[in-house]
Amino acid sequence: MIETSAISPADNSNQPTPASKSLGFEFRGDGMEYFKIWIVNILLTIVTLGIYSAWAKVRNNRYFYSNLYVDNDNFRYLADPITILKGRLIALTALIAYYVASIFLPIVAIVLAIALFFAVPYFINQSVAFTNRMSSYKNIQFRFKGSYGQAFMVVYIWPILGMLTLGILYPLALLKANEYFVRNSAYGTSHFDFNATYKDYGMIFLTVLGIAIVVGAPIAILTYFVPAISVISPLVFIVMYFALIVYVIVSFTNLFYASLSLVEHKFEANLTVPAQAKVILINLLLTIVTFGLYLPAAKVRMTKYICSCLTLHASGSLDNFSAAEKESISALGEEFGQVFDFA
């Protein structure tokens, strides 16, 4: 191992090798700073009648990626605004073409709608591949290589099965989707893995159902017999509804990271319902009070909170990842991925 001169004394304390160290994610962005970037983006987007929106997207994403640090290195967003602009123009053209076709030749519109239905899994694959390829960490790009068949299952078949079984298979649909997207993603040449069970997802659904029944039913019954309570019961329902939504967000995020791994490195997320609820409520309140001007700072606050709860349990060094072969995916596919992103 190469010793780093500055911090070697601290490193010596973690003697047992391969040293397993816990590295926190950290978001170093600032609400006010992002506000300035955001407002300039909007101004230029309006002045250029939307053309600048492609540059705005890149600047927004660059700000959030570049401020995200793990192990003192930041992520990077690599997309070229021109590529995004091309994608958006194609999307717009496709949309207008569809609109015109639906007026003059309704049959063509139906055919196009069916074609779109079957094209969606392909577009999703392209879109995820584009996003991953445009993300890098320690100058190594992420990758995604999905298959049409699996994407079709994840997008249509599993959710439909979930509905047909009245939700019993719905947790499985979610699990399958996460498995598909994670297992086909890679950091350089190293593949991610996802290990969760049907039970993990099922428990979250059961808990929600349980709370809804245990808290909701007595109030409903009580309100029925004591009409005076009807003044506050809607309020109780709103609070319960909000709490359950936050619970679902928190549990899914925590479960996702707990199930995620990259070779021998593990992840962990420790979001809590009160903290997440506080962030959402403060954001909501300040955004409404400021007529939306707080929106960028709200996004920063949310990102900061979520990142502060994420940990990477690195087993050994993070220096040994290598870059994947250069991919020569046609620009057309990339742009269609963008089209889907936009539409």
Partner: protein
């Protein structure tokens, strides 16, 4: 000049503590890897310096995905100004714009004014222009909308055929002036007292509404209001306006996923504002037409009052009228009656 930073070769994730060497001709010559005591030559290499963005690290990209990262903003900015064929103002003006407090305040105000202008004038007039210059869209797009309504809310009219024919005869002379809109009057039930104009020229009167109106003049007043909607192609315009509004909101909020409520609420409120504007426009149109045909404007006031009373009896205790006004598709009846008074004084 030496700039301290990190070098990443783009092949592995190993970071190297490094120093970037810039010679007296302002050219990047070498990168010194401090730990390995290795010197990489970068003479003649093409490189790009990423633009400055907030406090994020500065990046210089070399060939073969090699990357040099550092936090020395001043030195990198200096390097950019030295770079060939780039005027200094050209590269950093975005960063300057983003960091000048006065300009930011100005931008915020200008953006707010532009947005206000777009919402109140830009989008409505653009939509109006589109609706009136692409006639085919407005008539064909919604051909089947009556079919859809028939399948969902409407039922067969229970009015006697004689009464239906009576009202049709009443409307016929006025319709003859609107051949291009192909107006037809149909009767349905299944909805409360209401009258609506569909974009392909169909005007629907519901049974409850026909029974509510006490004079023929009142029916005519509402008929004129609906003709106003048709003439101005309000339905098409509204669809186009909503589409534009949605695109605008998406542009502004970007990908803020957790804020559905915050983005959906203004869109809805603005849509309702647009809707009320259309109603007022149709009211004005109806008043002008009533005046032209020497029908007393009072019939308009009467039918509006009747409709209001009809709907108010359905609601227990008229709560918070200001809020209702804000959340309504139609202007307040009092305002509509005021419109009649204004119209009277003008003529």
């Amino acid at each position: 000049m030496f700039i301290a930073g990190i070098y990443l070769d783009g092949k592995t994730s190993k970071r190297h503590i490094a120093r970037l060497e810039v010679n007296d001709d302002h050219k990047i010559t070498h990168i010194h890897l401090t730990e390995q005591q290795q010197v990489l030559s970068f003479e003649q290499q093409h490189y790009t310096i990423e633009s400055r963005l907030g406090n994020t690290p500065r990046e210089i990209l070399f060939e073969d995905a090699q990357l040099f990262v550092c936090d020395n903003h001043d030195e990198i900015d200096q390097l950019i100004t030295w770079q060939e064929n780039s005027s200094p103002n050209n590269i950093t003006w975005l960063y300057r714009l983003e960091n000048n407090i006065k300009l930011i305040c100005l931008s915020t105000i200008v953006t707010a004014i532009l947005l206000y202008g777009m919402i109140t004038y830009g989008i409505p007039s653009a939509a109006k222009m589109m609706t009136h210059n692409v006639p085919y869209i407005s008539s064909a797009q919604f051909v089947s909308s009556l079919d859809v309504l028939d399948k969902t809310v409407f039922e067969e009219s229970k009015l006697p055929e004689q009464r239906q024919q009576e009202i049709r005869d009443l409307a016929a002379p006025y319709f003859s002036n609107y051949k291009s809109l192909k107006p037809t009057l149909v009767f349905r039930s299944g909805m409360k007292a209401n009258a609506l104009a569909l974009p392909n020229g169909i005007i629907v009167f519901t049974d409850d509404f026909v029974n509510l109106a006490e004079t023929n003049d009142e029916l005519i007043a509402v008929l004129f209001h609906e003709l106003g909607h048709l003439t101005h192609k309000h339905m098409t315009q509204r669809v186009i306006q909503d589409a534009m509004l949605t695109i605008m909101v998406v542009f502004i909020t970007g990908d803020v996923e957790t804020f559905d409520l915050v983005t959906a609420l203004p869109t809805l409120l603005l849509d309702l504002t647009y809707s009320r504007k259309f109603e007022t426009e149709a009211d004005n149109y109806a008043l002008a037409l009533l005046n032209e045909h020497n029908i007393p404007l009072q019939s308009f006031v009467d039918v509006m009052t009747r409709l209001e009373n009809y709907y108010l009896t359905g609601i227990e205790g008229n709560t918070n009228s200001a809020m209702n006004d804000f959340l309504s598709t139609h202007p307040k009846t009092a305002d509509r009656i005021k419109l009649v008074e204004q119209f009277n004084t003008k003529n």
